[in-house]
Symmetry: C2
Subunit: 192 residues, 2 copies
């Protein structure tokens, strides 16, 4: 088995796995299906991954890692006021959600299939990402841009954004940025 996680082959296999996990769901995706999609035999799969669980963990880690990087970069590039930062954060969220769509759908809907160890490790990553959101929401609240309970507002906003993967069509007329702006507009009083 390949001990190091960074092999480029492994990364490509992880991408393919993400796609299948979304198409079929983790439980219905067999190691034989995964292998076929990757152009190898099922036995060879276990050279790259310890077991099926580890493939799932790799998929989720990849997606969450990217989300964190993109969000941090987006926030760093704009040192502007809380309104812009809120919009930028929402845009960054949808950007990751739809460029790494497969990985994120897996992270959102197959998280519970992770074994406890992997779940604990990945929870830290996810918490780091959500912490970014909380600061942005806090600033917006303090500036009087939005109103309500900080905890509830962030949950509601993240829920609305995450749920987009269930209905949004990236090939439709609306861009992800449009979506983000509309959501921010919805929770902010109209410009006087």
């Amino acid at each position: 088995m390949n001990v190091m996680n960074a092999s480029p082959r492994r990364k490509e296999l992880t991408r393919l796995a993400a796609q299948l996990f979304v198409q079929e769901g983790f439980d219905r995706t067999t190691v034989r299906m995964l292998a076929q999609e990757m152009g190898i035999k099922s036995g060879s799969l276990f050279h790259h991954f310890k077991d099926k669980q580890e493939i799932l963990a790799a998929v989720i880690e990849e997606g969450t890692q990217n989300a964190l990087v993109i969000a941090r970069k987006a926030l760093d590039e704009c040192a502007s006021g809380p309104e812009v930062r809120l919009r930028v954060m929402a845009r960054a969220h949808l950007e990751t959600l739809f460029t790494d769509r497969n990985a994120h759908v897996v992270a959102l809907f197959e998280w519970r299939r992770l074994d406890p160890d992997a779940s604990a490790h990945l929870s830290h990553l996810r918490d780091a990402y959500e912490a970014l959101w909380v600061t942005v929401i806090d600033d917006a609240l303090e500036a009087g841009l939005i109103h309500g309970d900080r905890f509830l507002v962030s949950r509601f906003v993240l829920g609305a954004l995450n749920w987009t993967v269930r209905w949004y069509d990236p090939n439709g007329p609306r861009s992800p940025d449009d979506l983000a702006d509309e959501l921010v507009a919805m929770i902010m009083p109209p410009p006087a």
Copy 2:
């Protein structure tokens, strides 16, 4: 096999199945697990349900049916203005979501496991429910209570509400009604 769907025994079995489906996920729930939870042997299960698929369909149908009834009743009982109707609808949504929690979690996260026939049948039920939402949102928009695209607003609101099943603790200090009110407050400009 029991042809009629309305047997009280079957209804109880459906409730138990919903619980297991939430705990383990549909795919990981075996007919043997279901049978044990029901206090019978796995073979006996197929006297009540044609196959495993039909159990899933029964669970989802039960939940969606109830949601529709509760929402209609709530709206009928208040012929008030659009603001109250919006609040009432949000409350009704969360009320069903947490009294029939198991069934709804299954409906939200295992829908794709339905075979095409069952899915088509149940889609009509779900569409009827969502149609209620659209009228309520439309009225609120027309009254100038909220602003934005009718399609996007309803998706965002439903997303925020549905996502609560992932983080809300009914035993915590906040009631579902509080939650509903906070969400409505979030998307409405503060009272002048």
